[in-house]
């Protein structure tokens, strides 16, 4: 059984909409139809990157070292995540018991509505995913809000938004 996040009604697995309140129960992968505007750094990426080892597919050979970086779109700064298997994103406030691995305070996180523990990115050789950690303002992937505490796969060039802070995922 799955539980509707809106009204907590129990639904059969595979249901797409809650039969009780009509809420949508699945996250849509709209990235197939998404066109991102080319910006300068994309040209740069293009030259170097081969066709991406796209991750969830069966026949993709696991890559030994997967380099993942996050580019904060507003400030155009790049944060490298290499060598880690899980990173939490958020902002550090005084007296906070659990600190995020990556503090987004320098990017005006507060003003953009980033929670203290906002989201986690998991990196395995097979796939990279993001999970919202129950943030106040939610997390979006390519504009689509994701359900909290559920892994959502990420691809190269996906844009995630923590509150209003937009970050592009760069996978090499």
């Amino acid at each position: 059984m799955i539980t509707c996040p809106n009204c907590h009604h129990q639904e059969l697995p595979g249901a797409l909409f809650c039969s009780e309140c009509g809420a949508q129960l699945v996250v849509v992968d709209r990235s197939a139809t998404q066109t991102l505007d080319m910006i300068q750094s994309d040209y740069f990426e293009r030259k170097r990157s081969k066709p991406l080892p796209l991750l969830a597919e069966e026949n993709a050979t696991p890559v030994a070292v997967l380099s993942v970086a996050l580019r904060v779109i507003d400030s155009d700064e790049v944060i490298h995540l290499s060598g880690r298997s899980e990173v939490t994103l958020g902002r550090v406030v005084e007296g906070q018991p659990i600190l995020p691995d990556i503090d987004l305070t320098p990017y005006e996180a507060y003003a953009h509505g980033v929670s203290r523990l906002h989201a986690a990115i998991k990196i395995t050789p097979q796939r990279i995913s993001i999970m919202d950690l129950g943030s106040s303002n939610g997390t979006r992937v390519n504009g689509q809000k994701i359900v909290p505490h559920v892994d959502y796969p990420l691809k190269h060039h996906d844009v995630i938004a923590l509150g209003k802070l937009k970050i592009q995922v760069i996978i090499q």
Partner: protein, 493 residues
């Protein structure tokens, strides 16, 4: 009358690949329809003789083989209809509990439309002339018929039947070019009496039955009513099922607030048609014009899904979301109505899949044949085999739902919410129904449907006060949420 290459098959209404048993069954059905004892008119007698002739040839394997060989091979090619489907999940996870899977089935004609080849349409208007139709209502019907006649092709046929306490044929099938003659008869309609829908339908089907085959027309019955029929609902629905088997589609137009929408929906969905809610003369005008135009685009008619689900899979819900929008009956065969050139038909299906054991690696959700009649072809009756299957895997993959399917379901969900609220009212759970209507209103607001949302909220209040739906708003909500399905189609990929 045509004497095409496959005339014998057409007479018995069977496809070229019919089995001996099917031919026999079709022959008996045809003799019952055309038997001189049932209808002594000379044309029917002629028909009866021809059916005998056809059966003599087709029931004899040798004579059938010779006859088959005389049909040119280009007429034996399968009709140009593509059947596509999308699954909500390509690989079903092997779960120990039941699960749901959705299918969007698309049917479309793969050749460009050629209206000149479409046979003439025969529209049989069955008009309620009960006392309640007096005044504005009967006037709007008359005006809309006049409007319709002007928009038909000259060789399309119109016939007119009125019913009150009993039914009368006002006008036998007449080509639309005889405008003045038709309008003269239309103006003679007098109101008075009750609403005996069964009589009206019986008369219409008898009139259409023979005209249908003799002229190779596409016959449609348009039932126009504003009231309830009493006691003959079940008989009417059975009659509608018969009419579909003979290739006659029934559409209904309900005027005002007092007609029985559950009954008309059941009637039209079993006869492969749709029900329209008429709130104003403009509505009726528009529906007539649109329907009249679409009769010209009919490529295949009387589509039926003859299918089974395997492995304990259960078809739970079916709804036609494009083509003519209508709820579908779940009884096999499922009537799908007409398929138009240049307009695809989409059906959303919901399946309940039982717990999957280890041995199962794939499932046929639906397997069977799509049966249809193509009026413009020499060989008129066809069936296309198809199967909707999915794999079963160990891993639970993240759901990647195709956009078109999600869009269709998202709109359908709203319609189903009002449907469920109605069921709850029927079983006395008023407060649940009211809450559901409030949820529905929230979704409608989110979609920008403000006036419909307001109607739904008013209805939720009304419901809590009086514990029943109001006829007017109830219909507005039902047909309002249904018409949301007509919003721009999701882009084709």
């Amino acid at each position: 009358m045509g004497t095409g290459a496959a005339e014998y098959y057409n007479l018995l209404k069977v496809p070229l690949d019919a089995t001996a048993e099917e031919i026999r069954a079709a022959y008996f059905a045809a003799t019952r329809t055309y038997h001189p004892d049932v209808n002594p008119s000379p044309e029917v007698r002629q028909m009866f003789i021809r059916v005998q002739e056809a059966y003599e040839v087709l029931s004899n394997p040798q004579r059938r083989a010779t006859y088959d060989a005389s049909i040119p091979s280009d007429q034996r090619q399968l009709p140009p209809i593509a059947i596509d489907w999308l699954l909500s999940r390509r690989v079903l996870p092997r779960l120990t509990e039941p699960q749901l899977v959705y299918v969007l089935l698309d049917l479309r004609v793969t050749v460009p439309s050629d209206p000149s080849k479409a046979p003439p349409a025969h529209i049989c208007l069955v008009v309620d002339r009960s006392t309640s139709m007096r005044g504005e209502r009967i006037e709007m019907v008359k005006q809309s018929i006049a409007h319709l006649v002007r928009h038909l092709r000259p060789n399309d046929l119109i016939s007119l039947i009125t019913f009150g306490d009993r039914a009368e044929v006002i006008l036998h099938a007449t080509p639309a070019q005889h405008q003045i003659d038709i309008l003269h008869h239309v103006n003679q309609i007098q109101v008075g009496g009750g609403t005996e829908i069964l009589h009206g339908l019986e008369t219409a089907i008898n009139l259409s039955r023979y005209a249908n085959h003799a002229n190779n027309t596409s016959t449609q019955i348009w039932l126009i009513t504003d009231g309830h029929t009493y006691g003959d609902e079940q008989a009417s629905i059975e009659l509608a099922a018969t009419s579909r088997r003979e290739g006659i589609v029934i559409n209904a137009f309900g005027i005002g607030e007092d007609w029985n929408d559950d009954f008309l929906d059941a009637l039209t969905s079993i006869a492969g048609g749709t029900t329209h809610y008429v709130r104003s003369p403009e509505d009726l005008h528009m529906y007539f014009e649109r329907k009249g135009r679409s009769t010209r685009q009919i490529f295949a008619r009387g589509l039926e899904l003859h299918c089974v689900s395997e492995g304990g899979v259960n078809l739970r819900y079916a709804f036609k979301v494009a083509g003519d929008i209508a709820p579908l009956s779940l009884e096999i065969p499922i009537p799908l109505g007409d398929l138009y050139s240049g307009e695809k038909m989409s059906v959303v299906l919901e399946f309940l899949v039982p717990p999957l054991s280890r041995e199962i690696t794939g499932l046929n959700l639906l397997r069977g044949k799509l049966v249809m009649e193509i009026p413009s072809f020499e060989v008129r009756y066809w069936r296309l085999p198809f199967a909707v299957s999915c794999e079963v895997g160990e891993e639970v993959e993240p759901m990647v739902v195709p956009d078109a399917l999600l869009q269709a379901l998202s709109r359908l969900t709203l319609y189903r919410m009002q449907e469920k609220a109605r069921q709850e009212i029927a079983s006395g759970e008023v407060s649940r129904a009211a809450r559901r209507l409030q949820y529905l209103a929230t979704h409608l607001l989110a979609k920008g449907e403000r006036s419909l949302a307001r109607t739904v909220l008013l209805e939720a209040e009304h419901l809590q006060r009086t514990h029943q739906l109001s006829g007017e708003r109830g219909k507005q909500i039902k047909y309002g949420t249904r018409s949301l399905l007509m919003l721009p189609e999701p882009r084709k990929d």
